[in-house]
């Protein structure tokens, strides 16, 4: 609820109200993190576009195998792996560094120190990733899922990451204020967990490989925890920050937050074994993974209730605010994808869905409909505060939202319906395998169409972003933020 702009006080009496003092502090923190955050957002969006191009190539190849089929550099296995790594380490991790660290800085109420170090680490992260992606392209792909980057690039990634992580932990260590908000727990935990996961996986699978299927157990403990202990906590932290912040309302329940956090910490990291159900590992490992996957229902419901009760009766605000449209879409997707995931871990369901496109749809449901949509919301909130301007075009934001919402919905439905059918047919030995494959083609074509929608959304996003970044004179902090619905009242940002 803003009033007409207040007149600026002379320098002797700095702050007319506690409110102003808080805002000024936030502004100072934003200014201190600006260059680092901007760097990470720019790299994130660049990798998003690269990842999108390779996604389209992979999607077309899946139903039209001759497409770009003449060279080994563009062979499906490599193209698909470049897409995965560009999105996971390029888009997702860079945007986490931008939004997650910004939220951490704000909540810890500490201006960042040694900003140069953070930037250098970020530069090395992206250099390492670029080297790794080229490595995959030219054939040094490891063929270990989620760890395709060749070992000559990974130490650089591990070191850069650790530096950035240490920075986040130090910000927490030197925080001001008594209370520690739920987002801070999630960000702190994620910053600590990820290097442990990455270093163990690198050592035990690539550098000093353990024997036999212990590699697979380690692989899927790692890969699933990239989703569960890195992407998920960061997205939840972002949602927990933005929902109450934009609405001006507290989160429903501190107790639910605590329960949700510790239940996630306890159960999520055992769930990764569900990627190996039916596989050549002792059955107790598999059953443990299944139980953990189902127990995840607890933190998911808890977070869902917490978010829902924090948003209830304020749908108009949610629809109006670009930030909240994306964040709430993501939060709802979190509940949905996790419940489906828990179901997929049950043996009777897994018998059908394992090895099919259903799993691919599920993965995109999580990484895109949940994580990415929330992070888009984060960018929409953060950028005006970093640049002291507003988003140039509400139209482009709408195009972005609808492109992505429609695109990801088509993708999930196509892959999961097609994948379910594929699974049922694969389990019927009388249907020739070639026929099963041919029956998936229409669904894969629908997936390619969904990819076009997503591409449109991403292009709209990129245009809006770079316009805001470079055309400083054209876009100023107007009386109100860029909202998606015209309204007479001022309000949510």
């Amino acid at each position: 609820m803003s009033q007409a702009p207040q007149s600026i006080k002379p320098a002797e009496t700095l702050y007319s109200s506690p409110n102003e003092a808080v805002r000024a502090e936030l502004s100072a923190i934003d200014a201190s993190i600006r260059s680092a955050a901007l760097f990470f957002v720019i790299t994130a969006i660049s990798w998003l576009m690269i990842g999108t191009v390779f996604a389209l190539i992979a999607a077309f190849k899946a139903h039209t195998p001759d497409f770009l089929g003449g060279t080994e550099w563009f062979t499906f296995g490599r193209v698909r792996s470049i897409h995965l790594n560009a999105m996971a380490l390029g888009w997702a991790t860079n945007i986490i560094f931008a939004v997650g660290l910004w939220i951490m800085a704000r909540l810890c109420r500490s201006e960042i120190q040694h900003k140069g170090l953070l930037l250098i680490a970020g530069v090395f992260w992206n250099i390492g990733l670029t080297v790794g992606i080229f490595g995959i392209f030219f054939g040094d792909i490891t063929s270990v899922e989620w760890l395709e980057i060749p070992t000559y690039a990974t130490p650089l990634l591990a070191v850069s990451y650790s530096l950035i992580g240490v920075w986040g932990i130090l910000a927490f260590r030197f925080r001001k204020g008594e209370h520690v908000y739920v987002s801070q727990w999630y960000i702190l935990a994620a910053l600590f967990w990820f290097p442990w996961l990455y270093i163990v996986a690198q050592f035990m699978i690539l550098w000093f490989p353990v024997r036999g299927v212990v590699q697979s157990v380690t692989n899927w403990w790692f890969a699933h925890n990239v989703l569960g202990l890195w992407f998920t906590p960061m997205a939840l932290a972002t949602a927990y920050y933005l929902i109450p912040k934009v609405l001006g309302r507290p989160i429903y329940s501190y107790y639910l937050s605590v329960l949700g956090f510790w239940a996630l910490a306890l159960f999520y990291n055992w769930a990764g074994i569900h990627h190996l159900i039916g596989g050549p590992i002792p059955v107790w490992l598999i059953s443990a993974g299944i139980v953990a996957s189902v127990m995840m229902v607890i933190p998911v419901i808890v977070v869902g209730v917490n978010h829902h009760m924090s948003v209830v009766w304020m749908h108009k605000e949610v629809w109006r605010s670009p930030t909240l449209r994306f964040v709430v879409f993501g939060a709802i997707s979190y509940t949905l994808v996790s419940l489906i995931g828990s179901a997929m871990a049950l043996r009777s369901v897994n018998e059908i869905t394992h090895f099919t496109h259903f799993t691919v749809g599920h993965a995109h449901h999580g990484v895109y409909a949940f994580f990415t949509m929330i992070m888009f919301g984060g960018v929409y909130y953060m950028m005006p505060r970093l640049l002291k301007r507003e988003w140039p075009s509400a139209g482009l934001i709408k195009l972005h939202f609808w492109g992505c919402a429609i695109g990801i919905t088509i993708m999930i439905v196509a892959l999961q319906v097609g994948g379910w059918i594929q699974g049922l047919e694969m389990n019927n030995a009388e249907i020739p395998f070639l026929e099963v494959v041919q029956n998936t083609v229409p669904w894969l074509q629908a997936r390619s169409v969904s990819g076009l929608f997503l591409t449109v959304g991403h292009i709209a996003f990129a245009i809006n972003f770079f316009w805001m970044l470079f055309a400083a004179g054209a876009v100023r902090a107007k009386q109100g933020p860029t909202l998606l619905v015209e309204t007479s009242e001022e309000g949510a940002a």
Binding site: A189, V210, N427
Partner: protein, 218 residues
């Protein structure tokens, strides 16, 4: 929750719990398995003089595995057979029994895979063998449409050389169907490169045609 040391302890032990419970304990339990005889005697010892399974694969097959890795075959093909009654793996003839941990102990990089865009390959050497097997694989790799019309597998023609036929055709030349749209031009022949040859040897060597004490072929 504002106490950093306590919070940190909780965060640490949350991951330490699964790290120990899954990674360290599985390494302890199955991290030192070795090949063994198909049956054990009453005391649970290996039978004297019997072959130890799984077998070591020949060098050229290991080179072929490197090609498999470089081409990213794992992203469409799995290498694990599920037990009878759970899925139709055995019904489809992908293997005679479930694969178990010991089947993979000699593999420096385990390629279990998680997608079956294409069929499972754990026992592909039990379906395509000998010269007939080589012929099929080369035609299939050069362009899957030749022997599997309508397949979505991409062509790997770049693993082959097209060359002028010399005084007599090379004995390694692929024999295409007559007037095939995928064959070379008149006067030319297609021969496999070293990488294609190695890859096919690797595929011919992927077999689960032996029993293990914990996994007996019925």
């Amino acid at each position: 929750m504002k106490n950093l040391p306590l919070l940190f302890c909780g965060i640490f032990f949350a991951l330490a719990f699964s790290f120990t419970g899954l990674i360290l304990s599985s390494n302890l339990q199955i991290g030192d398995l070795t090949p063994t005889t198909e049956r054990l005697d009453e005391d649970g010892n290996q039978l004297e003089g019997e072959t130890l399974y799984p077998l070591k694969s020949p060098g050229i097959a290991q080179q072929g595995k490197q090609v498999y890795i470089e081409m990213g075959c794992i992203y469409c093909h799995s290498q694990q057979i599920r037990r009878e009654g759970f899925g139709a793996d055995i019904d489809r003839g992908w293997g005679a029994r479930q694969t178990v941990a010991r089947d993979y102990v000699l593999q420096e990089r385990v390629l279990l895979g998680t997608m079956r865009t294409g069929p499972d390959l754990a026992n592909v050497g039990g379906r395509f063998a000998g010269q007939a097997g080589r012929d099929w694989h080369h035609l299939h790799l050069f362009n899957p449409q030749i022997v599997s019309k309508g397949s979505t597998m991409p062509p790997f023609a770049f693993l082959y050389d097209t060359q002028l036929i010399g005084d007599s055709p090379s004995k390694d030349a692929l024999s295409f169907p007559p007037a095939s749209e995928y064959g070379p031009e008149e006067g030319y022949e297609v021969i496999p490169t070293e990488r294609a040859t190695a890859l096919v040897e690797y595929l011919l060597n992927l077999k689960v045609d032996y029993s293990l004490p914990e996994a007996i072929i019925p």
